[in-house]
């Protein structure tokens, strides 16, 4: 399938947006402007941007504690996104959710989740509801390699395959579960291998290569949308930073971090587009300027927003 220049530039822009949003979040967090803690996906942007580029507004996304990228790529409004992470009243969740629980029903961001593997079975239900109504929407459930060892992974993949649900299980494998390397918590080297045990297709791609991610995601989304059932899509990525912002990563060999940073999905895609004359001189700068203006605006909005209202403490527990 040939892509238009605009589609390719939009994917590049999406990755740049995620990168700059998270860099800003890390900076604001370090300065003490954001409460709690922050998990960034810097270096992993190709997965969010690549997968979400093939989704429509009616499609649903469930994400994780490291979920800013997925929400941003799915089109969440940056102002209220930022206000939520700031814990402010006009954040998407009235400042109750914060970084790990951002949700925006309008664009199908069902929610980030602080429980590892918590979103996997929920994806079954959003997909089933779509199937029940005869809609053609799909659900993408992002999760990590660590979550693939949770019981919910097993239950969800078995049920999704059994019922041919329109789901894409997208494992963003950065090879670290918090502070533990993958070789210490699973025997197989690829999460996608596990798909065979459920009778669903499993694919593993280089998650730093957005072209590969897009192609694999397009196939999986198309399969789901056309009634062909779920796919386990594993995207192998490299975590540039620690588990959380401020994690000194002393448990990781310095060369490992250095090596990770040589895999830059944004730089490599820009090079590909440059070589193909899709990206012309000045284009990337324009994207950067545009993204910076959006982020500046969102941060200003969040910072000027009222703090969460104590009167709201007791609301929304029940109808």
């Amino acid at each position: 399938m040939s892509e238009t220049r605009n589609e390719q530039l939009a994917v590049l822009e999406s990755m740049v947006r995620i990168r700059r949003v998270e860099e800003r979040l890390a900076e604001l967090f370090t300065q003490g402007n954001i409460p709690g803690f922050i998990h960034v996906s810097i270096g992993q942007e190709a997965v969010a941007a690549g997968v979400c580029s093939g989704l429509g507004p009616g499609d649903s996304v469930l994400t994780t504690h490291r979920g800013h990228g997925h929400a941003v790529a799915k089109g969440i409004e940056l102002r209220r996104f930022m206000a939520e992470i700031y814990g402010r009243q006009n954040g998407f969740c009235k400042g109750r959710g914060g970084s790990m629980h951002v949700a925006d029903r309008n664009v199908g961001v069902v929610g980030a989740n602080g429980i590892v593997g918590g979103g996997l079975p929920i994806a079954l239900g959003t997909a089933l509801a779509s199937q029940y109504r005869g809609e053609k929407t799909v659900t993408v459930c992002f999760f990590g390699d660590g979550a693939s060892n949770e019981g919910t992974f097993h239950e969800a993949l078995n049920i999704a395959a059994l019922w041919s649900l329109p789901v894409v299980f997208c494992c963003e494998n950065n090879s670290w579960a918090q502070f533990t390397p993958q070789s210490s918590y699973m025997k197989v080297t690829s999460v996608a291998q596990r798909a065979a045990g459920y009778g669903m297709p499993g694919t593993c791609v280089d998650g730093s290569d957005v072209t590969q991610v897009r192609a694999a995601a397009r196939e999986a989304v198309e399969r789901a949308r056309s009634g062909g059932g779920p796919t386990l899509l594993e995207c192998k990525v490299l975590r540039w930073q620690g588990h959380y912002v401020g994690d000194a990563q002393k448990y990781r060999a310095p060369d490992d971090v250095k090596e990770a940073r040589t895999h830059d999905p944004i730089r490599s895609y820009a090079e590909v587009l440059g070589a193909a004359k899709v990206l012309e001189p000045g284009d990337l700068e324009k994207i950067e300027q545009c993204v910076k203006a959006e982020i500046d605006d969102a941060v200003a909005f969040a910072a000027a927003s009222p703090m969460a209202d104590p009167a709201d403490l007791l609301t929304d527990v029940y109808a």
Partner: protein, 324 residues
């Protein structure tokens, strides 16, 4: 008016609500073709099809998680957990997702569903077919908890629960499934959530119970009457939200209260009720609030008659509060 048992009443409510509302979908282990291990959904798959009465794998977390996603997108799932003892594998989904979605999404998403589950001892079920885990869910903000004691309330409360905008844990007293029989109207029966019922009036002691234990409390009240002690019996019916006004009204009249439940004593719901009574009725109390409960042990197999608070143990507590 037909006479039904609790299972038939549950089945009746499910059927009527599914006819009324096409978004109501049942799912669970053996609920479809088999009709449920206790037959609560018998005949429903034949009438409504496999898309609305869904047989699932043995995967409680998967079942409840599926229900969460369905509820977020406009369906009214009624998942069945075959025995309340099997609810623990789904605990994360219930506590972290079902209960909190409305709050944590700032009201963007809601999670209306009814988790039906048979609970309680007295059927020689042993450790894991006998427990009464209601307190865990009452303790979790965002959930409602309902426990009917009789067929009429089972139908009326289940109807209300399915129509409720919030998630409801619906505990069915399995020992009374066929033992409790009563008249239940054919058509729509609605019993509001959050309202207790005074099933027997009395001026000496208030007996507070729910589900299967209501029957024991009622029996104890009859026996107390022979001794000249007039018990007022309250069937709470809903534990969350609790009808505290009904409790206060009764205890202010009697000055004495005995709370009965099957679950272990420590941090059982009786502890909360006792605290609420002393907060609100302190100057009316003639005796400390008594609790007649299960013991702080795992649920026993052969000794379940000793474990369960049967009428003689309740009567003993009634006499003690009278003698205080």
């Amino acid at each position: 008016m037909p006479t039904l048992n609790i299972i038939q009443a549950v089945n009746d409510a499910l059927r009527q609500e599914m006819r009324r509302d096409p978004t109501v979908v049942i799912l669970g282990e053996d609920v479809g073709k088999f009709g449920g291990v206790f037959r609560a959904s018998q005949g429903l798959q034949e009438e409504f099809g496999k898309d609305r009465v869904i047989d699932t794998p043995l995967a409680e977390s998967g079942v409840i998680g599926t229900a969460v996603g369905m509820a977020l997108y406009g369906l009214r799932p009624v998942p069945e957990i075959q025995f309340a003892d099997f609810i623990f594998p789904a605990m994360d989904q219930i506590v972290s997702e079902v209960a909190k979605f409305r709050y944590r999404s700032g009201g963007q998403y809601t999670c209306p569903m009814v988790i039906r589950t048979p609970y309680g001892g007295g059927i020689r079920g042993g450790h894991y077919h006998s427990q009464s885990p209601e307190a865990h869910f009452i303790h979790t903000a965002g959930l409602k908890v309902v426990v009917p004691s009789n067929p009429h309330d089972a139908k009326g409360l289940l109807t209300s629960a399915i129509r409720d905008p919030d998630p409801v844990l619906f505990f069915e007293p399995k020992r009374m499934y066929r033992a409790a029989r009563g008249e239940v109207p054919d058509g729509e029966v609605v019993v509001p959530i959050g309202k207790a019922r005074v099933t027997r009036e009395g001026r000496h002691v208030t007996l507070i119970a729910w589900g299967a234990m209501w029957h024991e409390a009622d029996q104890a009240a009859r026996e107390a009457a022979d001794l000249g002690i007039e018990c007022e019996v309250l069937d709470l019916r809903t534990l969350q939200p609790l009808d505290i006004d009904a409790i206060v009204e009764s205890v202010q009249k009697t000055g004495r209260a005995v709370v009965v439940h099957e679950a272990p004593r420590t941090c059982g719901f009786g502890a909360e009720i006792s605290a609420l009574i002393q907060e609100r009725c302190f100057l009316h109390l003639e005796a400390p609030v008594a609790r007649v409960t299960g013991f702080d042990t795992p649920f026993p197999y052969t000794l379940e008659s000793e474990y369960l608070p049967r009428a003689p143990r309740i009567l003993k507590a009634v006499r003690e509060v009278m003698a205080f």
